[in-house]
């Protein structure tokens, strides 16, 4: 399901495919948080878009009677065909996903869903903290460059004459994911303009970004990253999904179950099998609790009691999903507004107000 915050331009998306056949030279700026569970986009006109990071290799072989009802879309990149959308998605939580063909087609699909077909894009995206920095706090230049190059590889929609032209990435910069939320925190945009909140800039703060595959920690003090208290934990919301899948298979003696059905079960806490609804709330509760306890211990290990920090800021889709569980971890904690989009917003602000777009990226 797409989440598109767009109220003022009802005709925008309806006309986008038609008009996109004539690519324009206008450059679109956007922040791209291409997570393992969801891919989020923040656009300069204020729109926020989120799609599930869901794809599988190969054609879907589905004929849509009406184009308007099409829910599976096919893309080709580097000679491989992928189906994106309402498919039984393959796991994204594998090493190298961020530079994979699967990542590329999901991102291209998000661009298309945002009505950016045929547009030239300037993009800032992210990598988990541990993928961005090595243990000495230096950048992992090769990994960063791989990601920068990956999104520039041609990816096109499949279809006959109706296939929309791809959105192309002309400029791409990569920053640490949780640090993006810090930029969102200190660069304040409102009706009167954009300003830098000096109080926030100078205050020591920890960002906890609970994502799909990883949970990132970044401590910023004196406008620098404190690497000793920063890093990534290889745990996120997808661990809940995996554990619930295993538990349901064990409980109902199933050899396999589709990813789409598990996603629905996580939302409704019931699963329909053999024509009957079954309550799986307890299985979900157990899986959540395991994740929360693991996150809590790692958070305490890295941040202690957080007494010397001005704030601990929780962001990421996991912060929203686990809000009730993390509500009282620190007396000085905050949860960002629309936390799932904090990184994407920060990436957009970094692109608009910090990044040097004249650099060759």
């Amino acid at each position: 399901m797409n989440q598109l915050s767009e109220e003022k331009l009802p005709d925008y998306n309806e006309s986008s495919n038609k008009d996109a056949k004539e690519p324009t030279m206008d450059i679109v700026h956007l922040g791209l948080d291409d997570g393992y569970a969801c891919t989020k986009i923040a656009l300069a006109d204020g729109r926020l878009l989120s799609i599930p990071s869901r794809a599988r290799i190969g054609h879907a072989w589905v004929t849509w009677i009406r184009d308007g009802e099409q829910r599976i879309f096919e893309y080709e990149t580097e000679g491989s065909v992928y189906s994106v959308g309402a498919v039984d998605g393959e796991p994204t939580h594998f090493e190298g996903y961020t530079t994979s063909a699967m990542n590329r087609v999901i991102v291209q699909h998000a661009f298309q869903q945002a009505g950016l077909s045929g547009r030239s894009l300037h993009v800032v995206s992210g990598l988990p903290v541990s993928a961005f920095y090595n243990h000495n706090g230096n950048r992992r230049a090769s990994a960063i460059n791989r990601k920068i190059r990956s999104l520039k590889i041609d990816t096109r929609s499949l279809g006959e004459l109706s296939a929309p032209p791809p959105a192309r990435v002309a400029f791409h910069d990569v920053i640490p994911e949780a640090l993006a939320a810090w930029y969102d925190y200190v660069i304040v945009t409102n009706e009167t303009g954009t300003s830098l909140d000096q109080k926030r800039v100078s205050a020591p703060i920890a960002i906890v970004d609970i994502g799909g595959r990883t949970t990132d920690y970044v401590v910023v003090q004196d406008q620098g990253v404190v690497h000793g208290s920063s890093g990534s934990l290889d745990r996120g919301l997808l661990n809940v999904k995996t554990q619930v899948t295993n538990s349901i298979q064990d409980a109902f003696d199933l050899t396999s179950i589709s990813e789409l059905r598990i996603s629905a079960a996580l939302e409704t806490e019931t699963i329909r099998l053999h024509g009957k609804d079954h309550d799986v709330s307890e299985l979900i509760h157990i899986a959540r609790q395991e994740l929360v306890e693991r996150l809590y211990s790692e958070t305490r290990r890295l941040l202690g009691q957080g007494a010397e920090l001005e704030h601990i800021l929780f962001v990421g889709g996991g912060s929203a999903a686990l809000a009730a569980d993390i509500a009282s971890w620190f007396p000085n904690q905050l949860i960002a507004a629309h936390p799932a989009f904090a990184n994407a917003r920060g990436m957009l602000k970094y692109l608009q107000f910090v990044s040097d777009e004249t650099e060759s990226s």
């Binding site: 331009l9 005709d11 706090g137 409102n190 990253v225 509500a327 910090v354």
Partner: protein, 128 residues
């Protein structure tokens, strides 16, 4: 339509993929055909007048990038405001933060190292 010698026809192409242009087109379509030309003409002149005023104001300030050195930007609909857990979750009592915003330190007349620099480019060093 017959044009006199003093009149010139201007052709403008608007793109529905550009948000503001899409708004203009939507508005234009709601106006009766006979009034569309006059509405567009008024819109153009109003826009030009605003641009002139902004330029004049910028010249009056001491060479800064814009009025009072602030960056004027179309606001995001969902700004990065922060809410405390009490606000966002509706549970318990928790502190709220007073976000007293300071103006951009990019004062009018301050040196700018190159025209391509972004207003907060100094924050790039945070990444390391």
């Amino acid at each position: 339509m017959i044009f006199t010698s003093s009149q010139h026809q201007v052709l403008i192409v608007l793109d529905r993929q550009v948000a503001l242009e899409s708004l203009v087109l939507n508005r234009l379509q709601k106006i009766p055909d006979c009034r569309q030309q006059e509405w567009l003409r008024g819109l153009l002149l109003d826009g030009f007048r605003l641009a002139c005023n902004a330029l004049r104001a910028a010249q009056c300030s001491s060479g800064g990038p814009s009025l009072k050195g602030e960056i004027k930007q179309k606001p995001l609909e969902l700004p990065g405001a922060i809410t405390s857990p009490a606000t966002s979750l509706g549970v318990g009592s928790s502190q709220t933060e007073s976000f007293k915003q300071q103006s951009l330190s990019h004062k009018a007349g301050a040196p700018v190292e190159g025209e391509n620099k972004k207003p907060f480019s100094q924050l790039k060093k945070v990444i390391g």
